[in-house]
Symmetry: C2
Subunit: 420 residues, 2 copies
């Protein structure tokens, strides 16, 4: 193993101590002390490796290195925040790999005689997870102009703390020097797959060419409070029973399609008044449907609508669905996918085009600039779980691939081809 | 309407202003500022009407009046605390009716030449509802020796506040002068029915002769955290889906029996980690089964056990049930029921023997001393809801009945007959 490889694994282990959980994972939701500590550590890392650290108004943390004064940036990164009781790799692996890739490429260009086409910047996007502050991908949404900065900063967590207040607890304030979208030409990101197609097919790396389609809903079930013991069953308008029927309907819907064609879930819910002897008057929950086929998604939504009418009738509740976020089957730029493939082949890695089911910051960036998105295998596809794991050799191969992609992007390969 | 009746309704309306909600109900969970304010108002009421106010270590609030020095008490009362967003009548009506009944009977005996067999005490039991601090009927459980005082005081709410801390915010400290169980000979309580048998049969008042049987469980569903989008459906171990199957199974169970023979509910649940993009790893919830027939309850529990095995298998989760509280079909003392009937007949009220499905403080007291439990009609049986309502004429009839029962208890009618 090279010195760089050893150092990368050591740095990753050190970084994983922030917000470490007894179960071997991390818990560093956006803007918490554990997130701040990780950011501080990463800022120190950037400074030690010749990057200039800056933070923008949305809390995105950058490390820039100037190789060609005035040129736009190749931006490379991911996120350091996590879900509650999450794994060490989701996001954090991609940030550290980006930092290593940029440091290496900057060193190579610094030693050479030819200036690269671009400057380099590493990024740690703020609040990709969206568990403490909804929605997810907040920092990259503000960066790409999809979400107003004011909305992001005013978002509150369950305890009424705003994003603005949470960010104020960090080690560094915005100083207007962070890169903006106008100065970014290209973006690259690497992430663990969070699925098991690469592992099952024994493929070294994945080149993401497309996102699954997704429709996310806010579900409101309105019933009526009553006594859990005394109220006759036929008099009840039990919002929790209505919610349970929606949860089971959403799940059973997946059996109507070929395996792998529809993923559904309800994972967050709030019950009112949530008292042991009072039938719930209201349940709020988030429902999530995803598919690699837009027709399947449309048919699933239509089927679900019917079942929700039945659920409302059975439970004597009113059930309303509000579409909060949706996207179709969106492709990454073919030239970027091709650049990823060529990079893998150059390194002798087996590769496959894969779709991403999960959203990533690159989902936002690809709508603004040519973007290359890479995956490394996840053991058993386990993610958002303390047991999330990617083998060291896979992690190192991914870092090497991201370095090659960054190298090619920096020297202008994508510009020379048709970038879109 | 008599002056007393008018005054009672005015006092009830005034009392209902504490913790009043926009929906016409009250929200005064045990030991909150709204509960403290109601208790303070009630203490002032007691003082103005010749009672001595005392509070015991468990937060039970008493108003005593001495008619026969050294004699034990006829204790009459209910509770002033409420569920979240609850109705005005549940508990509070019974406390005010008890105060009016005792004041009237004390006045009658004071004007007469013969001392009664007993002294009189009104009681407002602390935390009957159990929504903020579980379990319910806490104050009367400590009073009757069913729960250690230390356990009650150390109970915490969701924010980590203990009962002891919450009680310290009240207007009056315990001074050792409150009545204990040893000084109580008899107990009476009146409550709204929280069901609709009296209303449907057009009966003026109910004499409670028996409680439904109940079994309450703590349910734990253990799954595994994963990504809501990326995880294949067949890989999921979704605790919320497992919980939804339990909720629907519990509900569907009621259709296996004649209407009215089985009530089931799940009304409180906590989801971990409750994040929009993470499949739940654990759900905790309370499951409640009640029946007027112990055999039905036993059969229901057996059926539910089978369905829970299926639910665990379908959801690939582990589901554990822990019995937290149960009681059989428990009767109130026949002599007390008979005294209730005679009192109603004496007043010319139509009456019926009714079972209580809900637990009451009298459920605890009847195990310690002869107890008379009375019901007045509830419009549509609505309870634990801001729309809970009992008509003024029903409320006044109930107060009159409780006064007659208190009169008979105080003069020793139950002692002369066979009290058990």
């Amino acid at each position: 193993m090279s010195t760089t490889d050893t150092q990368f694994l050591e740095d990753f282990a050190e970084m994983s101590r922030f917000g470490a959980t007894p179960g071997g994972g991390v818990d560093r939701q956006a803007g918490t002390q554990a997130d701040h500590a990780t950011r501080k550590w990463f800022g120190d890392w950037l400074a030690r490796h010749g990057f200039e650290e800056t933070v923008d108004d949305a809390g995105n943390q950058f490390g820039t290195v100037e190789l060609n004064p005035g040129a736009p940036y190749v931006l490379v990164g991911s996120h350091l925040d996590s879900q509650p009781l999450a794994g060490r790799y989701d996001g954090a692996y991609g940030v550290l790999a980006a930092a290593y890739a940029c440091a290496r490429v900057a060193e190579e260009f610094g030693a050479g005689t030819q200036a690269p086409a671009y400057n380099l910047a590493v990024v740690n996007w703020f609040n990709e997870e969206g568990s403490r502050f909804a929605p997810s991908m907040m920092g990259s949404s503000v960066f790409t102009g999809k979400m107003p900065l004011e909305s992001a900063l005013a978002t509150t967590d369950g305890g009424g703390i705003t994003v603005g207040q949470a960010l104020a607890g960090g080690h560094r304030r915005p100083d207007g020097k962070a890169p903006g979208l106008a100065s970014v030409a290209l973006y690259a990101e690497i992430h663990i797959e969070q699925g098991r197609t690469l592992e099952e097919s024994g493929t070294d790396v994945g080149i993401v060419h497309r996102t699954w389609a997704a429709s996310k809903y806010r579900v409101t079930v309105d019933g009526a409070q009553s006594h859990t013991g005394a109220t006759r069953m036929e008099d009840r308008r039990d919002a929790l029973y209505g919610a349970a029927l929606v949860i089971t309907a959403a799940r059973e819907l997946t059996a109507e399609f070929e395996p792998g064609l529809l993923h559904t879930s309800v994972s967050e819910m709030n019950v009112l008044p949530n008292s042991p002897v009072t039938v719930a008057r209201q349940v709020l929950m988030n429902l999530d449907l995803r598919s690699p086929d837009e027709d399947v998604l449309a048919r699933a939504v239509a089927l679900l609508d019917k079942r929700i009418i039945d659920a409302a009738e059975s439970s004597r509740t009113a059930i309303a669905l509000e579409l909060t976020h949706s996207w179709g089957l969106v492709g990454y730029q073919p030239a970027g996918v091709e650049l990823g493939r060529k990079s893998a082949e150059h390194l002798g890695f087996t590769h496959a085009d894969v779709m991403t089911v999960a959203g990533h910051d690159s989902t936002n960036l690809k709508d603004a600039v040519p973007t290359v998105m890479l995956f490394v295998p996840s053991v058993e596809g386990i993610s958002h779980n303390e047991a999330e794991y990617t083998r060291d050799d896979d992690a190192l191969r991914g870092m090497e691939l991201l370095t090659e992609v960054t190298r090619r992007l920096a020297r202008g390969d994508l510009r020379k081809e048709n970038p879109r």
